[in-house]
């Protein structure tokens, strides 16, 4: 009882904080007499949503698609590589230092190159999202898989368990908290990656739209675009969080 009323009051406080920010925004614009092109009111921002010229549905859809493609590619590649590394020490010793070095490259700096390689459109922007999101997922997964107790491996080997059983019953569930922690970081980075890609070159997407309306100083539309990008990120992050709730017992989760 104690605990649930505590959660309730915490949720309430969280909602209040967000509403407070909204109210402060409104008050600032209404009382401060700020020009609309500097800071639009919440109402003006919502109105921008009804401007059909901006193709909100299409642009949001394109951005979301870029993010999801890049993100799931990062997830698949990251987890698979990490798995291969636990199976072959040589492979790990060869690739891991290389990957750590590659991780040092500011991925945003690759933008112009990625455009040269993949032209423009959804693919290069997905690749931007992928290149940023893959490292945290790969590195945390590899760490989680390494963390398995050697005696637990002995236990399975003594029963002549297969590599696949070892992976599905011991290593993967043991690494799951780590994978999720990498996935959470990756989700936020994937959104940033896709938007940077759109800023650099694109003909659709919310990032592209922001550059278009920047020229006409339609600040309400820019605000709306930022809000929509954030919502896409929240949806992705929220799904990851939800999945973690379902798959990882509370005791095993890491922040």
């Amino acid at each position: 009882m104690e605990a649930s009323s505590n959660t309730l009051s915490r949720t309430l406080l969280a909602v209040l904080a967000h509403l407070g920010l909204l109210a402060a925004w409104y008050a600032f614009v209404a009382l401060g007499d700020v020009p609309k092109y500097v800071m639009p009111s919440p109402l003006a921002t919502i109105k921008a949503l009804f401007d059909a010229n901006y193709n909100w549905w299409l642009n949001s859809g394109v951005t979301a698609l870029e993010i999801f493609v890049g993100y799931f590619l990062a997830l698949g590649v990251g987890v698979t590589l990490a798995l291969l590394f636990t199976w072959s020490k040589t492979l790990e010793a060869f690739f891991m230092p290389l990957l750590v070095s590659l991780n040092m490259i500011p991925k945003v700096a690759l933008g112009p190159l990625i455009i040269v390689w993949f032209k423009y459109g959804i693919l290069p922007n997905s690749m931007m999202a992928f290149s940023i999101a893959v490292f945290p997922i790969l590195l945390t997964t590899a760490r989680g898989l390494r963390e398995t107790e050697p005696e637990l491996l002995d236990l399975v080997r003594a029963l002549r368990g297969s590599r696949w059983q070892l992976f599905t019953k011991i290593q993967l569930p043991g690494a799951l908290p780590y994978i999720f922690s990498g996935m959470k970081v990756g989700a936020i980075l994937a959104v940033a990656g896709a938007i940077v890609g759109e800023f650099l070159s694109s003909d659709k997407g919310l990032g592209y739209l922001m550059l278009q309306v920047q020229v006409t100083l339609d600040t309400p539309a820019m605000f709306m675009a930022v809000i929509l990008i954030t919502l896409i990120g929240v949806a992705l992050y929220g799904s990851v969080l939800l999945l973690e709730r379902l798959l990882v017992p509370k005791d095993a989760r890491i922040a």
Partner: protein
């Protein structure tokens, strides 16, 4: 006379890492009869864990003979070994019953039967009612009991225990000793029990195998002729003291 269940003779084991060779066991020679509980003592690093790994088939020996099973007691290396370590090593994302079932899953045993067996074993180790708990909800001693149930769930003929009570406090440890003797009597398993506790070794074992500082050689193989069921007050008996003194002497600690 019955055939031994385990026959070790001249077993030698070297670890190789890179170019370096490290002799862990130089000569292990002893027999274990079916249904015995043999304690294995020796100084740290003398190769006790290594010997258990050889017996579990995890590392083949370099030299010597390892024979497990006999005409009357067939031995299947995949299905007839149960292992318990110093740490319970329960999977923290599984409930206790699911943890106990792990070996049955790996061996692909019929799950309905295995589940019944697991419940019965949890009763045997005094954990009825904890089936649906997560490991973190149990004390260290209770987790170790669950680990023992897990080692028995596939009904192995041989149970290898590597300092299973080493992490427990003295009181819990004595309690677990009594429990282990009861479980051993009820299950009829052959048990090899590695420990640093000399009094524990004597209290539990039908025999105590003493190994010298590594690389392990056999120092002695002592039959403990104290009657079962053993009770804690036997530790104050004269004969008990004689046995422990003898082992301390063998280990050069007197």
């Amino acid at each position: 006379m019955t055939e031994p269940f385990i026959h070790l003779s001249g077993v030698r084991k070297t670890y190789r890492r890179g170019g370096e060779a490290h002799l862990a066991i130089s000569d292990a020679t002893f027999d274990v009869m079916p249904g015995e509980l043999v304690s294995l003592v020796g100084p740290s690093g003398c190769g006790k864990s290594t010997l258990l790994k050889v017996l579990a088939g995890l590392h083949p020996q370099d030299e010597g003979e390892v024979r497990i099973g006999s005409g009357t007691h067939a031995f299947d290396p995949a299905r007839d070994v149960g292992m318990v370590f110093q740490a319970p090593l329960l999977l923290k994302w599984r409930r206790i019953l699911q943890n106990v079932l792990l070996p049955a899953e790996i061996l692909g045993l019929p799950m309905g039967e295995a589940r019944e067996r697991a419940r019965a074993l949890l009763g045997l180790v005094g954990l009825e009612g904890s089936e649906d708990k997560y490991p973190y909800e149990l004390s260290g001693g209770m987790q170790q009991r669950a680990a023992i149930a897990r080692a028995l769930v596939h009904d192995p003929k041989l149970v290898l225990m590597d300092e299973p009570f080493g992490a427990l406090d003295a009181l819990t440890r004595e309690k677990m000793n009594l429990e282990l003797l009861r479980i051993w009597k009820e299950s009829g398993k052959t048990i090899l029990f590695v420990t640093h506790g000399i009094s524990e070794a004597v209290f539990l074992g039908t025999r105590v195998v003493v190994m010298t500082a590594g690389p392990a050689r056999m120092a002695d193989n002592i039959a403990i002729e104290l009657p079962y069921p053993r009770t804690l007050d036997m530790k104050t008996h004269h004969a008990f003291g004689e046995y422990t003194r003898r082992i301390y002497r063998l280990l050069g600690m007197e």
